[in-house]
Amino acid sequence: MRTLHLKVLRDLARLRGQAAAIALVIASGVLTLVFSVMGHDALSLTQERFYAERHFADVFAEVNRAPRRIADPLREIPGVAEVEPRVRAPARLELDGFDDPIRGQVLSLPDGRQPALNQLHLREGRLPERARSDEVVVSDGFAEAHGLVAGDALRLIIGGRLVEVRVSGIALSPEFIYQVSPGHLMPDYERYAILWMNESALAAAYGMEGAFNSLSVSLQRDADREAVIDALDAALARYGGTGAHGRDELFSHEFVTLEIQQLGMMAVVVPAIFLLVSAFLLHVVMGRIIRGQRDQIAILKAFGYGNLAIAWHYVLLTALIVLAGSIAGIALGAWTAFALVDLYMEYFRFPELSFRLQGWLVLLALGVAMVAALLGTLQAVWQAVRMQPAEAMRPPAPERFGRGWLEGSALMRGLGQSSRIILRNLARHRLKSLASVIGIGLSGGLLLIGAYQLQAVSHMIDQQYRMTLQMDVDVAFTDPVPPRVAGELRHEPGVLAVETWRSAPVRLHAGARSERIGLLGMDPEPRLRRLPSAQVGETGLPTAGVVLTDYLADQLGLEAGDALEIEFLEGRRRTVTTQLAGVVDEPMGTGAYIRRDALHRLKGEGPAVTGTWLLVDSEYEEALYDSLFDRPEVASVERVREAEANVREYMEETVLVFAAVFVLLAGSIAFAVTYNNARIAYAERERELATLEVLGYSRAQVSWVLLGEIALVSLAAIPVAWASGTGFAWLLNQALTLEFVRLPFVITPQLYGFAALGIIMASTLSGLLILRRLRGLDRVQALKAAE
């Protein structure tokens, strides 16, 4: 048996080009799996550990002002484990050497110690000392952006009062893994801060002595969360509660979780597609390689090697290739996953990364690759050993050419002899040719979905920021103000147009389903914020009823015309019934829209606005931004183009890295497959080509016989790539439709072009490599070798 093992190594050395190409396919498939699953696992594990370690609360509630003494009895609500009342205050910050306005929120800590829930992870320094009212802990993103260290001075303006403080520590919180100011999508660490200070100090500054306005609650193991929320709402309503909610409605948690979910979906769909394609390719390619060894199998059989021994020999050969590919794939996958998660760390403030390579993942990756490759191998070995050795050993009889339809056709007659050989070869090996076409086509399909991801994300951002959001600046007020106040902004220099809006926190009910959302009251025909829909686009908002993002309507199980209940979570907390007037197709986020006058009517209030959109002369934008910020009623100012740039950057750094990795891998696979295909075609034709040359054909004609075949197969693969790529993209699209982001399913001609170009480039490269080999074709050697 020793010699047989030696043969494995020799064959590997001889097939090194093809073996490397196969290993590349395996490595790519395994890489996508390990990369996606590990990346997803690392993020979710990190999140889970951070939450557990820092006692992240399950339920949150905000009130206007409630006496402290009512907090303790809330512990008696069945299912409640821990209750942590606190003070939350909006603040402005001033920092020497930084002129832009900074906003933030200050949260209270029990004097001198960690709270029971949402504990801080101190990255540096310590908590404020018990008796001190001038120490704060700052969020690490903000500290990092400004290079703050413990001991640095800050000026806070809380409730109109100036408070001079010093940084005692820098911390992370499970509540603020994703830190954005209210109403924003992307973090701005320079201009938004989260601070923690002693409760006595904050309460004094904010006028909340003996009271709280924010509540965190943790639940017992099998608590009924909805029941707890209802009980809390009932208890807090008279203190101006805006509705308790689970952590799933906390923006940070929601965003991080959705991102993780999205990664999780990608981690299933993308590797599944990649692995399936690699498996198919492995199957085909290994099969063809083994079939090329038919005579060797016959020799081994003739000398008394049993089928098992022979099968084992080829299993070993295959296993070595698979192992090499898998190990490379696992190592590179882990490495890229680490890089990806590292990117996320810039956006998600976690104390440390939990990173692990799970055993099952390694086994799965290895298993899928092994099974696919071995199936191809064993099938071919089986075919070979079933033959009588005497038969298998005969030099392949000159193959028979059927006089099919091809022969008589005008096409054939019009072609030169070499081209006719190409067509005959393809027609004769119909199955083999078909497998090549499908294989190359599938690899082209992979290219297409890689590029699709890139394009879909950018298309989605375009849709959101170019089609929907037409305003330059989005201003939100701290409290509802009379429309007149917003109107005043019209006279600020540089303001070209103003449109006001009123947002009200509501819970939408449809049967048993409900959803908390800000109901946005707008002008009848909003021009600065379009509603992309056939129903609403032209005529504006309907006079009565609510318009929802189609995704939200689906979630609530509603169709246009259905009745819908709105529970207002502020003011008089009315519950009213209206109808779903229409849906809008929005790719990002969810929204509920209504005419502002209708909103006032339903709510039973007079005209009021909570924000305004501005169209601004870009020359004045900077100055306007500063002056808006100085207005006391202004809570936040968002520059939409800047937001767009931030969103794009975020997408580029996360999703696009993902997609780029896949395009790269798909490219390698396409190359590996075309190369293998060309290489095998060469091996199968070597004798024929040498014979043609001996018969007096020129090198060019002989090359054309081979390259023409490769070219034809590749061209035929392009439509397959389009079809399979479209299918893959659709699958991916379905999988990625999550609450936050719904990628539009748009396949542009560019994508088709990209896939086609990828195949053509891979084939050209392979063709060139084969051409080099063909130059070195040793006629004598090729004809002499009787194998």
């Binding site: 003739a302 049993g306 050993m393 009787a786 194998e787």
Partner: protein, 247 residues
């Protein structure tokens, strides 16, 4: 039956090692059927050296392959000693080939990725009582080319490797399909000497297919095939020493 079966003198003493009767072999290729063997009756005795002659396409290789368990007869009876080869399972045939038969193929069929020595070793690895591969290669005069790959050897050298491979396992039966086809007469004779030597020293039964009638002189019996049948069997009263052959 038009075969003139000349019973070997004193055949009663001799043990029959191969017995074939009514052996046919039909190749089916789509619509066409080719009758390679049309009813072969033949006995081969233990320890004898037979030469098979016949026109191209007369069925020599087919018959040899069936005797060696590389192929199975379409109909008829084939026995090796007591063992039925016609009905034998694939597994039984594999064991039979491994334990009893050495082959030299018409097209050498060396494994391209293995050196001469390794091509021999791949057989001795699984043989019961082999000679070292080096010794077998020395017997065919290739002691200097042991580490060369088939592509580095001439056709004749490849054929000699194939012969070394067949004899190295010291089989009970040695089946050679045109072992000297690609050799000059001097090397050819050298190879025939090796075969005769093996036959005499180890009492190996040897069957040699050839187109060269002269080689028949070294045989105990010469079997003529024609059109898939045994046409005649001629017994040599005296075996010639291969060294004395000239062509």
């Amino acid at each position: 039956m038009n075969a003139i079966v000349a019973p070997a003198a004193g055949s009663g003493r001799r043990e029959v090692i191969f017995h074939a009767s009514g052996v046919t072999r039909v190749y089916r290729m789509g619509e066409v059927t080719i009758q390679a063997l049309r009813g072969v009756d033949l006995e081969v005795y233990a320890g004898e050296l037979v030469v098979m002659l016949g026109a191209s396409g007369s069925g020599k290789s087919t018959l040899l392959n069936i005797m060696g368990g590389l192929d199975t007869a379409t109909a008829g009876e084939v026995r090796y000693r007591d063992q039925d080869l016609a009905q034998a399972s694939e597994r039984v045939l594999t064991t039979f080939r491994r334990d009893h038969v050495g082959f030299v193929f018409q097209f050498y069929n060396l494994i391209a990725s293995l050196t001469a020595r390794e091509n021999v070793a791949i057989v001795t690895d699984i043989a019961r009582d082999p000679m070292p591969p080096e010794e077998a290669l020395a017997l065919v005069g290739l002691e200097d080319r042991m580490d060369h790959f088939p592509s580095q050897l001439s056709g004749g050298e490849q054929q000699r490797v194939a012969i070394a491979r067949a004899i190295a396992k010291q089989p009970a039966v040695l089946l050679c399909d045109e072992p000297t086809g690609a050799l000059d007469s001097q090397t050819g004779i050298r190879v025939l000497e090796v075969l005769a030597h093996i036959n005499e020293r180890l009492n190996t039964t040897v069957a040699i297919i050839t187109h060269n009638a002269v080689i028949g002189e070294m045989a105990d019996r010469v079997i003529h095939l024609r059109d898939g049948r045994v046409d005649s069997i001629v017994e040599n009263p005296q075996r010639a020493d291969p060294a004395t052959l000239r062509w």
